[in-house]
């Protein structure tokens, strides 16, 4: 029973905490928190691929960036477009692209998958860079956030606080759904495929289709994060779709740890704060983070969440009641 109530309490507590943040935090930090929440969804969606399905994608930024650009382009070219339609168009673009590219990658896993996703990400980056008339190329695109139309009333979103609340609700809901997803039939199917794909085929599962569905689904979630990225900064540039953005999300997820659902959330938090702190004191912060990453691959492949869990088990769970640590992505 405790197992089922704990996550719920955590979720409610985090939301309540989130609601009070605009009162506590200064504008600068609220800005950072909004960014963290947006990247949290991006990272959680990435971990559904890496941690749950065991698929290392180097192309997750193509969804994030694509939706970010589509959002900006839609707002600029379609006057009076409502916020809901902006989100719909932005996510829709990611779904379509995810489905097409996922179809091409259907049969590939492991190194092939890593390589091909990187190649496709590079294609999107090249298009964004060269198609200057639409994407603004190196200059990027600036937009103004449309207001939020709730039918009975409309809320202007030009203030950061209002936009923060919208971000909290929508990103939060999406993250909670991801957590729920890991417990559903499809979520379990993905996990079991990583464990033993051959057996899954013999149990009647079409594993290629499962991978396609997962790829499209995580692409859509990354796309949703991308839409909010553009809305937040009211600007988008090619950095949103560059392979460096994929690197960033990989680092966030890996630092936090792929074995736990909350690992990436922790990772985003640490990464963005570290980035802000380090970039103030040194120009070489990418180098620092690169070294940290390699050291973690060598010595702490489970990430921070794994370290925390080990410490927790050592001090609070003296008796070893589940026959050793579970190596799966999440207790099943």
């Amino acid at each position: 029973m405790k197992q089922k109530i704990m996550p719920l309490i955590t979720i409610i507590a985090l939301f309540l905490l989130g609601i009070f943040m605009p009162v506590i935090l200064k504008q600068y930090h609220l800005n950072m928190l909004t960014e963290i929440i947006i990247f949290a969804l991006f990272a959680v969606s990435y971990n559904l691929l890496l941690g749950y399905a065991g698929l290392l994608s180097f192309g997750h930024a193509m969804f994030f960036g694509l939706s970010a650009f589509v959002t900006a382009i839609a707002i600029i070219h379609i006057p009076g477009l409502s916020l809901w339609n902006v989100i719909l168009i932005g996510v829709g673009a990611a779904v379509i692209v995810g489905f097409i590219i996922g179809g091409l990658l259907l049969r590939h896993k492991g190194s092939y998958f890593a390589l091909l996703t990187l190649a496709f990400n590079a294609l999107f980056y090249a298009i964004a860079t060269k198609w200057h008339s639409v994407t603004g190329g190196d200059d990027g695109l600036s937009i103004t956030r449309p207001g939020l139309d709730l039918g009975f009333t409309s809320i202007p979103l030009d203030s950061l606080t209002n936009f923060y609340y919208l971000t909290l609700v929508i990103m939060g809901a999406a993250i909670v759904f991801c957590w729920y997803f890991t417990h559903t039939a499809m979520g379990k199917t993905v996990l079991l495929m990583r464990e033993n794909e051959e057996r899954m085929k013999f149990l009647g599962f079409n594993t290629n289709i499962s991978r396609l569905i997962l790829f499209t689904f995580t692409g859509a979630l990354a796309g949703l994060a991308g839409v909010f990225y553009t809305l937040h900064f009211q600007f988008v540039s090619i950095s949103a779709i560059s392979p460096d953005m994929t690197t960033a999300v990989l680092l966030m997820v890996f630092v936090g740890g792929t074995k736990k659902f909350w690992g990436p959330l922790l990772g985003v938090f640490v990464y963005i704060i570290l980035q802000n702190y380090l970039s103030n004191i040194t120009d070489r912060w990418p180098l620092v983070i690169g070294v940290i990453f390699v050291l973690m691959v060598l010595y702490v492949p489970g990430g921070l969440s794994d370290v925390i869990m080990n410490v927790w088990q050592r001090f609070f769970e003296k008796k070893d009641n589940n026959g050793g640590k579970s190596a799966t992505a999440e207790e099943v």
Binding site: F181, H183, T184, A185, M186, K188, T189, L192, E195, N196, E198, R199, M200, K201, F202, L203, G204, F205, N206, T207, I209, S210, I213, F217, N322, G323, S326, A327, T328, V332
Partner: protein, 247 residues
Amino acid sequence: MSDYLHIQNIHKDFSGLKVLTGVEFKVTEKERHAVIGPNGAGKTTLLNIISGKFKPSSGAILFKGKDISGKPPNVLNHYGLARSFQITNVFQELSVFYNVLAGVRSHHGLRYNFFKMPDHDRNICEKVESILEDVGLVDVKDQPASSLSYGQQRALEIAITLSTDPELILLDEPTAGMTREETNQAIQMIDKVTAGHTLIIIEHDMEVVFSLANIISVLHYGTILVSDTPEKIRNDQRVKDAYLGEG
């Protein structure tokens, strides 16, 4: 007029190496059919072809009159075929319960659902429990598969095979590596859980074959030497030659 299962002139080459050279036999519904043969006769290759792991180089497999050769395993599973593996092929990190749950929910159509939690479905959980009861693993249902004894892992292998409620069950050396006592228990268990199903069993151990099968096919150098009842097989000179010839 059509047979339940008709293995029709199956050939299989692996880059020039001819493993099966025209395998032909029939299985009637509810039959317990054993395929025996010396090592290297191509038994496991044959099973891999029937179960969809490999495509035959030529030939056909008619299941209720329909050619199913070359169809992928997941489609064959939907037709009602299931197989076990000679080398235990379970989900090692998962508990016994969740190992069996995967197939049961697949059979109930809960494969790709984004909203339903399969372990909250009463029917599915009860079905898992009843399978575990049948194979004698209820007591260890919450343990990870990796912590089971060898005999229990083999039982789990059978449980997973049964989990999609198949009508045609293919077992690949279910007692391989077991002690005599474990084998006897396994025979009883298999006999019980496969009652009322059609069974094809690939076996090396003659005791298992003669206590479970009512028809035996002898595979020798890639073709079926003879298909007959156990009594006739026991006294068949060609079979004796084939086995003695192998030394």
